[in-house]
């Protein structure tokens, strides 16, 4: 099989507050023999906030990012749910509306950027791995199965909703019953935890203007995971991770109960099963400690 190559759109968070996400993604890709080419020219996706202020600007910047992946000709892979949704929504809108595409392309042309053509797929690393490599191939590379570890998958909104966008570009999960991360946990030898809020919202996008809302929503997730005996939560999104890991003490305050639990980035969990060391996976950067890992 030819080597799998992707154009990696890192997003901002993986280069700043969650360095462990980029580190573990690169380490896991290497272990799985996937080549990642970083899109260093890319800009921020606007994180679903820039479009509230200036929709056209957000659209144009995202189109430019995709153009750089088109130049390479590889699937554009994201490692943040919100980057994924913003980029794939841009793609959908441009692919479906030729007038809008022309408007955006005229602007790109004015600055000397090649036109957006819509020739590459945009996928989260989770689904790229599952689609192109497959669960069985990943399973075969497991050297340290996650035996006896109870893992609560937390999917995050922007990787599963809205389903029509996700079906066109991404995993196409049923947002009311997502299964990919649970299946991955099982393939890695772990035990998946069933709990109600695995597909709900962590509240990240109102964290600044309404921390109470954000903390209450996150509390539902952490308490659901803990009350169903999870040893750790695992998420494919660095923004969910910032909430559940960095803000954990504020969530506990709002909930009025102990909610301490470590939070994996998805590639950290995969990497562990592939035999990578905690250091290689950047676990020292996570705020909540993983007491069950020696």
């Amino acid at each position: 099989m030819a080597k799998i190559k992707y154009a990696l759109y890192t997003g901002c968070t993986a280069r700043e507050s969650t360095p462990e996400l980029l580190k573990s993604t690169l380490a896991v890709a290497k272990a799985l023999d996937i080549e990642l080419i970083l899109l260093d020219e890319a800009s921020c996706c606007g994180a679903s906030h820039l479009q509230d202020f200036d929709d056209m600007l957000s659209l144009t910047l995202n189109a430019r990012n995709i153009v750089y992946a088109e130049k390479l000709g590889f699937t554009m892979v994201t490692i943040c749910n919100t980057c994924q949704l913003n980029t794939s929504m841009t793609k959908d809108r441009l692919d479906e509306d030729s007038n809008l595409k022309d408007t955006v392309n005229a602007k790109l042309k004015e600055v000397g950027i090649p036109e957006y053509r819509g020739t590459v797929d945009v996928k989260h690393f989770l689904y790229a791995m599952l689609d192109d490599l497959g669960l069985d191939a990943i399973k075969q590379k497991v050297v340290r199965p996650l035996t006896d570890i109870n893992l609560a998958a937390f999917y995050g909104c922007h990787n599963i909703r809205p389903s029509h966008t996700q079906a066109k570009n991404n995993g196409g999960e049923n947002p009311y019953k997502p299964t990919s991360i649970d299946n991955l946990i099982l393939a890695l030898g772990g035990t998946n935890v069933e709990y109600e809020d695995k597909n709900s919202c962590c509240g990240f996008h109102v964290e600044l203007q309404n921390p109470t809302t954000a903390n209450r929503l996150s509390a539902n997730i952490l308490s659901g995971a803990i009350d169903n005996n999870a040893d750790a939560v695992v998420t494919p999104c660095p923004l969910c991770h910032l909430r559940l890991d960095v803000q954990q003490h504020n969530i506990e305050k709002e909930a009025g109960r102990d909610l301490s639990i470590p939070i994996f980035h998805l590639p950290q969990m995969v990497g562990l099963a592939l035999g990578l060391s905690p250091e290689e996976l950047g676990l020292q950067h996570n705020i909540q400690e993983f007491s069950f890992i020696q």
Partner: protein, 325 residues
């Protein structure tokens, strides 16, 4: 296609007599054409005449039959049972839209839901003569602006799926905001400014949307309420009504940051949004992050390659203004 024997676990509660709700189980043979409303009818007609639920039109128009099936917002007269079985298996759980507001079985008290329509003035605001001598004609082109928001049947599926509503009773929610957008876009209406001031309030308005897309998923008419909420955000800036508050600065701050480094300077965005005093409450997190090497210091701040390209693009593609940003 054969019949299927399915198990329905049904939420039962009578607020006049019960302290706590319970679930009744009904096992039924179901055919491929039956919708959830057929099941509700059969429970009442064949099993328990006291079972209570709302329905009227049976045609997806009145919006009264909305319930949840395995937590999925459902329009009972529209959603096919076998389709639900494909996702959830042969045991289906039928719940009212909001268990905490149940009167009797599937029937809930929807007062807060309806009150929010009143709050956003979901009607055409205009001084009109009682005996006008001309028609108020809406052209097909201006009707396009409404973006199908007038197809809303006020079923509440989006509202009762909204996590922000579930933890904050002040949040106007996707249903009322969709209609606020609908009347703002109506060419006969003169209440846009008034309505925008209402929906722009912090704590209950558009800035409290957590952007989860639950409403987009829940709407049986595929109206994409969150897209309407984004348009309301845009209108607040277009009409020059945006206040200099934390939420507005948070959205505008992305542009400032991208212009500077192509990426988001996360720490600076928090400072810019919160202001120099407000930012102090984030010190505990900042210290914890610093200790774990999660804080990017100014001299290590990443920057996009070909930044000049991004800056020129911002220059020519910007369409909105807030102060001098």
């Amino acid at each position: 296609m054969k019949n299927k024997e399915l198990t329905f676990k049904v939420f039962r509660f009578n607020s006049d007599t019960d302290y706590l709700p319970h679930y009744d189980t009904f096992v039924m043979k179901v055919t491929k054409d039956e919708v959830v409303l057929d099941i509700l009818n059969r429970i009442k007609w064949e099993h328990d005449g006291t079972f209570t639920y709302r329905r009227s039109c049976r045609h997806g128009i009145c919006g009264s039959c909305a319930i949840k099936v395995n937590n999925k917002p459902t329009l009972a007269c529209k959603d096919n049972v076998f389709e639900l079985v494909k996702v959830f298996g042969e045991e289906l759980i039928l719940d009212p839209q909001d268990k905490s507001r149940a009167y009797k079985d599937m029937v809930i008290d929807k007062k807060p839901f309806w009150d929010k329509y009143k709050k956003v003035k979901a009607y055409v605001i205009k001084d009109i003569q009682e005996t006008p001598d001309f028609e108020n004609i809406v052209s097909p082109a201006t009707n396009e602006e409404i973006d199908e928001a007038d197809y809303c049947i006020q079923c509440g599926n989006c509202y009762y799926a909204c996590p922000s509503v579930s933890v904050n009773e002040d949040y106007l929610g996707p249903s009322a905001l969709t209609l606020a957008f609908r009347f703002n876009a109506d060419s006969r209406d003169e209440g846009k400014q008034e309505r925008l001031k209402i929906v722009d309030e912090l704590g209950g308005g558009i800035w409290d949307c957590v952007k989860c897309n639950e409403c987009a998923e829940a709407c049986p008419k595929e109206l994409n309420p969150i897209a309407k909420i984004t348009k309301l955000h845009n209108q607040v800036f277009e009409e020059g009504l945006a206040k200099n508050n934390i939420a507005v600065r948070h959205s505008v701050g992305f542009k400032t940051s991208i212009k500077k480094i192509g990426l988001l300077d996360e720490g600076e965005l928090v400072r810019f949004s919160e202001g120099n005093c407000g930012v102090l409450k984030h010190i505990p997190e900042a210290i914890a992050m610093f200790k774990k090497g999660k804080l990017t210091l100014p001299w290590n701040m990443p920057e996009s390659k070909n930044l000049d390209e991004i800056q020129s693009l911002i220059h020519i593609a910007s369409t909105a203004k807030f102060k001098n940003i």
